[in-house]
Amino acid sequence: MWLDPDVRWLTGVHEAEDHAYLVRELYEELLWWLIMPSLLRLAGEAAPSRTAVETMSRTIEDALTTAEAVGYRVDLLLGPASPEGANEEDARKVEPLPD
């Protein structure tokens, strides 16, 4: 998905010193939009579950924390086996995004 031009544009992906970076605010917008289908299903329930809401909230927080931990580098978000030669310390910081 990170190779999709629309996604890259929406998240403000740009090159600096041979690395691709995203823009946190735009990435956050995207994450919020991506929970919309879940939110829609939740809003359709007679009594929306607070647990489900908290899970959504945590999902976004975790995704933002992960992005921050890798310095908003897209290649590191792709995982430690990145072809762009991420250093090991940075790679260890990468955690899988929550389901």
Binding site: L10, E29, P37, L40, L42, R50, V53, P96
Partner: protein, 353 residues
């Protein structure tokens, strides 16, 4: 070859050749274009040709060309080199005559591609009608009305709500029918073999979906903390960051796309939604609808503060070309947002791949 060798526009019709000497009859003769090109008289035949300078392809019914000649408008110093003249025979699968009528003299990069777009046009029109600004505005008004969801509390609101649902459903049903038809025609369900549900049976599901969407602002209160500015720029909220139509249009767009996907395959609607978006070429009608809803009013400066918008757009266009896509003259915000609507069903986990 046609050339306008002056600084100014020109308009003309090519029908008769210059005179040439018929030495046998000892007189000057002229040929009409139909004779020169040896055109068929059959009504179903369409003539195609290509401008080798621009790569654009043109169509014209041979009957029209034979009767009226080739009419052209040229800008200052504009030139055409028309090659590859060929006759195309219209069939039910390849209605070149209808495509010629629709193009009305406009050139296209790929005729087969234009033919697919022609077949998809009814579904695209239905989608645009679904996201028509007046309807989205009514949706937004109702959703943001504090009593809109409580049945029977306000006669006027109740009447507006009923009117909205009836109109929205009529348009949605039309989109579902046309979308299903186009998807099947393009072999969309070949892998799954699933049989689409009858759209008429989805009325209640559509109504429930819209009602759920209208409750999204209320769900914010359940979150442990108030939504951030980023969230309020993307999702309907009691204190939104964008205009009501810009907030609610994409939500309505997602509702109908997801319903169409579910009507085709209930087991994997997210995958089908994305497939529908690509196969039915929904990017353009979505983007046009979002443009009409005011998406281009968003400040580009705040989106890419460290570089000029033009330069950034140029790079994005290059990236899009590499990905084999064309966005035409549509705004990038709306194009990208249309893409986002389609990607809504993707799990966040996909972002690590």
């Amino acid at each position: 070859m046609v050339y306008n060798n002056r600084y100014g526009e020109t308009h003309g019709t090519i029908d008769f050749s210059v005179a040439y000497a018929d030495k046998g009859a000892n007189q000057l003769r002229q040929q009409r274009i139909r004779e020169g090109l040896g055109l068929s008289d059959a009504a179903s035949v369409t003539l195609a040709w290509r401008d080798s300078l621009t790569g654009l392809n043109y169509l014209r019914r041979t009957k029209d060309l034979a009767e009226r000649g080739l009419t052209l408008d040229l800008h200052a110093y504009q030139c055409h080199v028309f090659l590859d003249w060929r006759e195309l025979y219209s069939t039910a699968e390849q209605p070149w005559d209808r495509l010629s009528d629709q193009l009305n003299g406009q050139g296209v990069a790929n005729l087969e591609d234009a033919l697919v777009n022609l077949e998809l046009q009814p579904a695209h029109d239905a989608l645009r009608a679904q996201l028509e600004p007046g309807l989205v505005r009514l949706f937004a008004d109702l959703a943001e009305h504090p009593r809109a969801l409580a049945a029977g509390t306000d006669t006027e609101t109740e009447a507006k709500r009923t009117e909205f649902f009836e109109t929205a459903w009529a348009r949605c049903e039309s989109f579902l029918r046309l979308g299903q038809k186009a998807y099947l025609a393009l072999g969309g369900n070949e892998a799954s073999g699933a049989k689409p549900a009858n759209p008429a049976l989805l009325r209640a599901a559509f109504r429930e979906r819209l009602r759920a969407a209208m409750r999204i602002p209320a769900v914010e209160a359940l979150f442990p903390a108030p939504w951030t500015v980023a969230a309020r720029r993307m999702l309907p909220s009691p204190s939104p960051q964008l205009t009501a139509t810009a907030m609610w249009g994409p939500v309505l767009g997602w509702c109908v796309l997801e319903l169409l996907a579910e009507s085709i395959d209930t087991t994997n609607p997210e995958r089908v939604a994305l497939d529908l978006f690509d196969r039915l070429r929904l990017r353009e009608p979505f983007a046009q609808a979002f443009t009409a809803l005011g998406f281009e009013a968003r400040s580009m400066a705040c989106r890419c503060p460290r570089q000029s918008w033009a330069a950034y757009r140029g790079r994005c266009r290059q990236a899009a070309r590499r990905a084999g896509r064309s966005h035409g003259g549509l705004g990038w915000t709306s194009c990208a947002f249309a893409c986002l609507v389609a990607r809504s069903g993707c799990s966040l986990a996909d972002w690590g791949t």
